[in-house]
């Protein structure tokens, strides 16, 4: 056999796989604790201040496709190298079900482009089973995580307001930006229906938190990753500072295949494919931390088969890959006629919404579903990109023209040109992001027939929504229409019905997938203990969203960061006590 795995004799204290939120936090905390760390990232190095990589402040005409999403699903300027489909890295689905898996191959992973929505899980979110009997409780509660949320707030920065809403814990908030015009409309519309429309909570520096990072200059382009680090991305805020010291070796373009173990069943390191020379290498370490994303880490564990671990590593429970769940999502847009013919001014603001609606019906028992959703908004006079001016025939017949007469939708010429101008900034969008109930039968597993271009067996997904999620989406659409009505708006498109699952997005589309290596006190029904440590392998941790027992309707990043910090402190103590 000519193919030879190249081994290095160096033994690190800790090998961390993945440089997103979980891996970045582990790298920072553990390198500061003095450990020698190998950080492996499957994509290239990345710095938003590198002019060759930077997209911030680019104009649509600097891209020949005007920023369209042909190669990056959220558009040319979005800072995720990858997407739901990556050349040479397939995945499959079974039983006619659907799941779309978003991956970002770069230092910092998906934190470079994410929405920066930074919500703490509340007390209820860790113990939902106590209230509705569904799913499982977490083995920890809000009080266990709160100190780490506090530390994350102060280290990374998040704006928001103290609202004292029971299941929406307040944090150490920087002052929020003032609402935009359409957001004031939404606030008024929401108040009319009794919805709490409050300042959003985003990890964007409206104020400086240290001398390293700049304050937000309101370009709305957080999805492009900020060149002065005014928003949070793991690469800019956690990994980069850690690399300034000698404790961390960064391996980029290193696609991890499996975790290596010895005859005692302890992890000894990982093997990876170097994407440049397509050779396989090993990195030795006394502790291995997987933070390759919920599905990425599950894949590595399931591919780490040996005679001692025939079902994959840390999988005596058979639960690795199970309980996969994403947030629910549904959305609607509306034309708000009173926002037409607007005065022009710069209303870019921060990257994302300035106001949102947290779930407001925790006490409601008769909805037909038991888990909530929060609402997000968009709109305003944003920078044009591919798609601007599309579908005018769907809106310019809805309201009278400047002459007071209704017109035939469509058209051409100066009248059409002027219409695009009139409607600019008059479209408002809203979306629900909800909690689904984790199901053992929603899972990823290894496809026995397929490998990726690195020869690594790929994931196969099986995922079905239940009526809980469908009813929730139905409720979202009812809320959207009520808000649109309150604003004097005209809902665009049709309200999706039962035949289309009430507009419920395909699982994986909201990119909050978690749960594949869930934590628990019982090693027969969970993969990790409450400190993200594998029940079966004491020197193996998983610090991404895999450990989540349930997702809440909150975006997972802030909780991944808090739990990774907590787990890293625990690991430090365990090493000191010689337990690992």
């Amino acid at each position: 056999m000519s193919f030879q795995i190249k081994k290095s004799s160096k033994v690190y204290d800790i090998c961390i796989v993945g440089s997103g939120a979980g891996g970045g936090m582990a790298t920072k905390v553990l390198s500061e604790a003095g450990f020698k760390i190998a950080l492996l990232e499957a994509g290239p190095n990345f710095d938003p201040a590198n002019p060759d990589q930077q997209t911030q402040f680019k104009w649509p005409y600097e891209s020949p496709r005007r920023g369209a999403g042909t190669s990056r699903p959220f558009g040319d300027f979005d800072m995720a190298y990858g997407g739901w489909e990556i050349d040479g890295e397939p995945y499959t689905r079974k039983n006619g079900t659907k799941f779309d898996w978003f991956r970002s191959r770069m230092l910092g992973g998906r934190t470079n482009h994410w929405g920066r929505i930074s919500l703490r899980f509340g007390p209820l979110d860790f113990k939902r089973k106590d209230f509705d009997g569904k799913g499982d409780n977490w083995p920890i509660g809000y009080e266990d995580v709160k100190p780490y949320y506090d530390k994350v707030d102060k280290l990374i920065g998040v704006f928001g307001t103290k609202e004292n809403i029971p299941n929406e814990p307040d944090g150490y908030f920087l002052p929020p930006p003032k609402p935009r015009l359409h957001e004031l409309y939404l606030k008024k519309a929401g108040q009319k229906s009794g919805l709490p429309v409050i300042p959003s909570r985003l990890s964007i520096l409206t104020k400086r938190i240290d001398n390293r990072r700049g304050a937000c200059f309101y370009c709305k382009q957080c999805s492009r990753s900020c060149s002065i680090y005014g928003d949070f991305s793991s690469s800019s805020v956690l990994v980069k500072p850690a690399l300034e010291y000698d404790n961390v070796d960064l391996y980029v373009n290193a696609m991890v295949r499996e975790v290596l173990t010895d005859e005692n069943g302890k992890a000894t390191g990982v093997s990876y494919i170097n994407k440049h020379d397509l050779q396989e290498y090993t990195v030795k370490a006394k502790v291995v931390i997987l933070a390759a994303s919920a599905c990425g880490s599950a894949r590595i564990l399931l591919n780490s088969k040996s005679s001692k671990f025939p079902n994959g590593l840390a999988n005596s429970s058979g639960v690795v890959g199970k309980y996969l769940h994403d947030s629910t999502g549904a959305a609607r847009t509306a034309l708000v006629p009173s926002l037409m013919d607007r005065k022009r001014y710069n209303e870019d603001g921060v990257g994302g919404m300035h106001l949102y609606v947290p779930w407001w019906l925790n006490d409601s028992k008769n909805l037909g579903f038991t888990r909530g959703y929060h609402m997000e908004f968009w709109g305003g006079m944003g920078m044009p990109a591919y798609g601007v001016g599309f579908g005018m025939e769907n809106i310019n017949g809805l309201v009278p023209g400047k002459d007071g007469q209704m017109k035939k939708p469509g058209g051409y010429g100066l009248d059409f040109k002027n219409d695009v101008n009139r409607f600019y900034g008059a479209i408002v969008g809203m979306a629900g992001r909800g909690e689904s109930i984790p199901q053992k039968n929603n899972y990823c597993e290894i496809d026995p027939d397929v490998v990726d271009k690195y020869g690594i067996p790929v994931l196969r997904f099986n995922y079905k929504w239940t009526d809980e999620e469908r009813k929730q989406a139905k409720h979202m659409h009812e809320t959207f229409e009520e808000l649109i009505h309150n604003m004097g708006g005209i809902a665009l498109g049709n309200k999706p019905g039962k035949e289309s699952d009430y507009g419920l997005d395909v699982p994986g589309r909201i990119i909050h997938e978690v749960g594949t290596t869930r934590m628990g006190d019982n090693s027969k029904t969970s993969v990790l203990n409450k400190y993200n440590q594998a029940h079966d392998v004491p020197n193996l941790f998983v610090m991404d969203g895999g450990g989540f027992v349930s997702q809440a309707d909150k975006n997972p990043t802030w909780t991944i960061l808090a739990l990774a910090w907590r787990a890293s402190e625990y690991l430090t103590e365990e090493i000191k006590k010689m337990n690992i």
Partner: protein, 236 residues
């Protein structure tokens, strides 16, 4: 010191000296970045990965529309977006060149666009015994009137109307994402600035205001460069 320069200085002050790479692994991108920029890198211009850059080059090396099609698209583009006293037309904004690129980038546009142009020439030949681009404007507009309003189309023109809606979308997008189009639209962002809420006259016009709570809680522009201090922050 202008804003751009101060941004650069800020960045220079915070960027680390470089990353460490161990063992056999090298990062070729990093090495390229340290050398004198080659024309390729300047060409990339908008933050492309090497794979994306290669794809762009491949698309640029191909031609889809022939000369006749390009000439017809130019006529159509200016019918959809003509110039007025203050702003240019679609061809002024190089929309046909955008159309040529976008159909190569998104091949699903190719057959409908090519076929739509053929449909149009066929219709023009039938009515006026000339291809579309060579008929006088009044005759061109006679056909366009029949296909420009999708809710009001005779059955025999439905395919033409479908084509025209697609073309109108692409021409509009090409125009309003161009420098000229953005200026016409009045988008004034994409620059470092300080957001301090909706201008008062706009609030007045929409009969809206910021309530006391909002004004107290929101960031004051003059405080944004202060470093946050949690000493007196009370969190239950």
């Amino acid at each position: 010191m202008d804003r751009r320069k101060s941004l650069k200085a800020m960045v220079a002050g915070t960027v680390t000296s470089g990353f460490m790479f161990s063992g056999c692994l090298t990062d070729s991108e990093e090495q390229v970045a340290n050398e004198t920029p080659t024309p390729e890198i300047e060409e990339s211009g908008y933050g492309r990965t090497p794979e994306e850059l290669a794809r762009d080059k491949e698309l640029y090396s191909k031609t889809f529309f022939n000369e006749h099609e390009m000439a017809t698209l130019a006529v159509l583009s200016d019918i959809i977006i003509p110039a007025d006293e203050t702003s240019g037309s679609a061809t002024d904004a190089k929309v046909p060149e955008f159309l040529e690129f976008i159909v190569k980038d998104m091949p699903h546009h190719q057959t409908p666009m090519r076929g739509g142009l053929m449909w149009l020439d066929h219709e023009s030949n039938k009515r006026f015994d000339k291809v579309f681009k060579d008929t006088p404007e009044t005759q061109q507009l006679e056909i366009i009137e029949d296909i420009a309003y999708p809710d009001d189309v005779k059955p025999e023109f439905l395919q033409g109307a479908k084509f025209f809606s697609r073309l109108r979308n692409l021409v509009a997008t090409g125009y309003f994402t161009s420098k000229e189009g953005i200026e016409y639209l009045g988008y004034v962002g994409n620059v470092p600035n300080v957001w301090d809420g909706v201008p008062q006259d706009v609030l007045d016009r929409h009969k809206l205001s910021y309530d006391e709570k909002t004004l107290n809680e929101c960031i004051k522009p003059e405080e944004r460069n202060e470093i946050a201090n949690w000493d007196n922050y009370d969190l239950a």
